[in-house]
């Protein structure tokens, strides 16, 4: 007769890990291999403890059969790094000024308006990074009128974005000359961005799941929607992607976060590869 030993601490076996990794990959497109074992196991054990499950099996079953997917959302939060700072994932900004803007500009007369939508604005690092890139690194900035609009669902971060004060950590990726050109140091060791840049971004309070909020975004040429959709449930993700499809002009581009993919969200966009980045495009010809 087998003695049943009760494990004092739940374990993640190899089979558990593979089962979890396949499920997570299916839902998010994020692939965890053996090298991420420690990272994944630790976070799974955290959630097992937090939910009061007595084993990985019990935890996984509860998560898999949960109708609203909230535990999966918790896990996604834990498994992904969500920190905002200036020039985060800058290769996409390189793509913006090296390729995307030129393609967009080629379809418009000189002097016309180009619209860029940055969502979520969070505390402003992304829209201001875009502004700095445009001024410093797009050769044709003087030939077009570029409008930057930026939105968030959280009014407190919008207020912070408009105040424009940032920590040393947040500006660490900026070249020194940009920092000195566009920011002034504050008394307490932070950096305040110039009012010119604050006024170059139009901020708004928007819930991407609400048609009433997204309806007024039209004729957008380029959308940055990075590291947001991954935190939505499946349905909200689709609704947001479809709203952004409508916001874009034909041929408009959308950039997602580096670990995000339209393959889990929508088939409406074409995949476009540029030297700096892979982005998605609303088709030009509408059939």
């Amino acid at each position: 007769m087998r003695t049943t030993a009760v494990a004092a601490v739940p374990q993640i076996t190899d089979a558990d890990f593979h089962k979890f990794a396949e499920f997570f990959y299916r839902k998010t497109g994020i692939h965890f291999d053996e090298g991420k074992r420690y990272f994944v196991d630790k976070r799974l054990l955290d959630r097992i403890a937090a939910t009061g499950a007595d084993s990985f099996r019990a935890y996984f079953v509860a998560m898999r059969f949960e109708a609203d997917g909230s535990e999966l959302q918790q896990l996604i939060n834990l498994m992904t790094v969500n920190e905002t700072y200036f020039f985060r994932e800058a290769y996409q900004f390189d793509c913006l000024v090296n390729h995307l803007l030129d393609e967009v500009a080629a379809r418009k007369p000189r002097g016309s308006r180009i619209r860029i939508w940055s969502v979520p604005s969070s505390t402003g690092e992304e829209p201001y990074s875009i502004a700095i890139y445009l001024l410093e690194r797009w050769a044709r900035i003087d030939d077009y009128e570029v409008e930057i609009v930026s939105s968030d669902i959280d009014s407190r971060v919008l207020e912070a974005a408009q105040a424009g004060v940032y920590s040393p950590r947040s500006v660490a990726q900026l070249p020194k000359n940009y920092l000195n050109k566009y920011f002034k140091p504050t008394q307490d060791g932070n950096w305040r961005i110039s009012r010119d840049l604050v006024e170059a971004v139009e901020f708004s309070l928007v819930n991407l799941s609400q048609p009433a909020d997204t309806r007024c975004f039209r004729d957008i040429d380029i959308i940055f929607c990075r590291n947001l959709l991954i935190y939505f449930d499946d349905l909200s993700r689709r609704v947001a992607a479809e709203a952004m499809y409508d916001a874009l002009r034909p041929g408009g581009f959308i950039c997602l976060g580096h670990s995000e993919s339209m393959s889990r969200i929508s088939s409406l966009f074409k995949v476009r590869r540029f030297p700096d980045a892979m982005v998605y495009q609303k088709p030009l010809e509408l059939t």
Binding site: T13, A15, H18, K19, E22, F23, R57, V61, R64, F65, E66, A67, G69, G111, R113, R115, A131, L134, L135, I141, D142, D143, Y144, E145, V146, E147, I148, V149, E199, A200, V201, E202, S204, P211, R215, C216, F217, R218, D234, L235, R238, V239, E242, A243, Y245, D246, S266, S267, L268, L286, T287
Partner: protein
């Protein structure tokens, strides 16, 4: 030129569209047939809060050719949920159009309580494709009865492809009570190399290998 300042008179975000049709359900339903796909898309989007439109939204899927409008029809159906949507979408499981079928499966998999009463009949459908697509649906359905339904498939299904699909899902949701049915089905389809492989994986995952 350069960056546009918000302190300039900018009406870009606050422009209010002139509505040529009323936004009540009747008006929106009429717009589902507009020649302009953008109008149809917006009508489909705005119908997401009109429960009485569920049958009409589902019916429109059969006629709509534009992928972007279809996508929004499905999303709105998903937001409405309920048995009217389930009944409207179940017939799409029989469609030859893979995009329609898979779109329906995606919406149905988000409506576990409304879909559950239909599963038994679907798993006994005379069409093996329908049985296969039902197993695909179970693969994403957050319902506690999924392992039990799959167990029944293992015990009674004759089509190797349906069995294979069921074993695939059990690798994720199976429990130890499925070990014996998995071994039995592996024997029954002993000359099918995929079923043997898939059963091994499933048994390993439910740790009864």
């Amino acid at each position: 030129m350069g960056l546009k300042k918000t302190s300039e008179a900018g009406t870009a975000l606050r422009r209010v569209e002139e509505r040529t049709y009323p936004r009540d359900a009747g008006g929106l339903i009429a717009q589902l047939r507009d020649a302009d796909p953008a109008v149809r898309r917006w009508a489909a989007r705005d119908l997401a809060v009109h429960a009485e439109a569920a049958p009409r939204l589902c019916a429109q899927l059969l006629e709509e050719r534009d992928a972007s409008v279809r996508a929004v029809l499905f999303s709105s159906a998903a937001q409405l949920g309920g048995s009217a949507v389930v009944e409207g979408l179940l017939p799409l499981l029989r469609s030859d159009d893979a995009a329609l079928r898979n779109g329906a499966i995606e919406v149905l998999s988000g409506l576990p309580e409304a879909v559950a009463p239909h599963i038994d009949a679907l798993l006994r459908d005379v069409d093996s494709d329908v049985r296969l697509f039902t197993v695909n649906l179970l693969g994403n359905l957050p319902h506690a009865q999924v392992p039990e339904w799959l167990g029944r498939v293992l015990n009674t299904e004759t089509e190797a492809n349906v069995v294979g699909a069921a074993i695939e899902v059990l690798a994720e949701v199976g429990n130890r009570s499925l070990a014996q049915p998995l071994r039995a089905v592996r024997l029954r389809f002993a000359d099918d190399p995929f079923i043997g492989f898939a059963a091994e994986v499933a048994l390993e995952r439910i740790e009864a290998a």
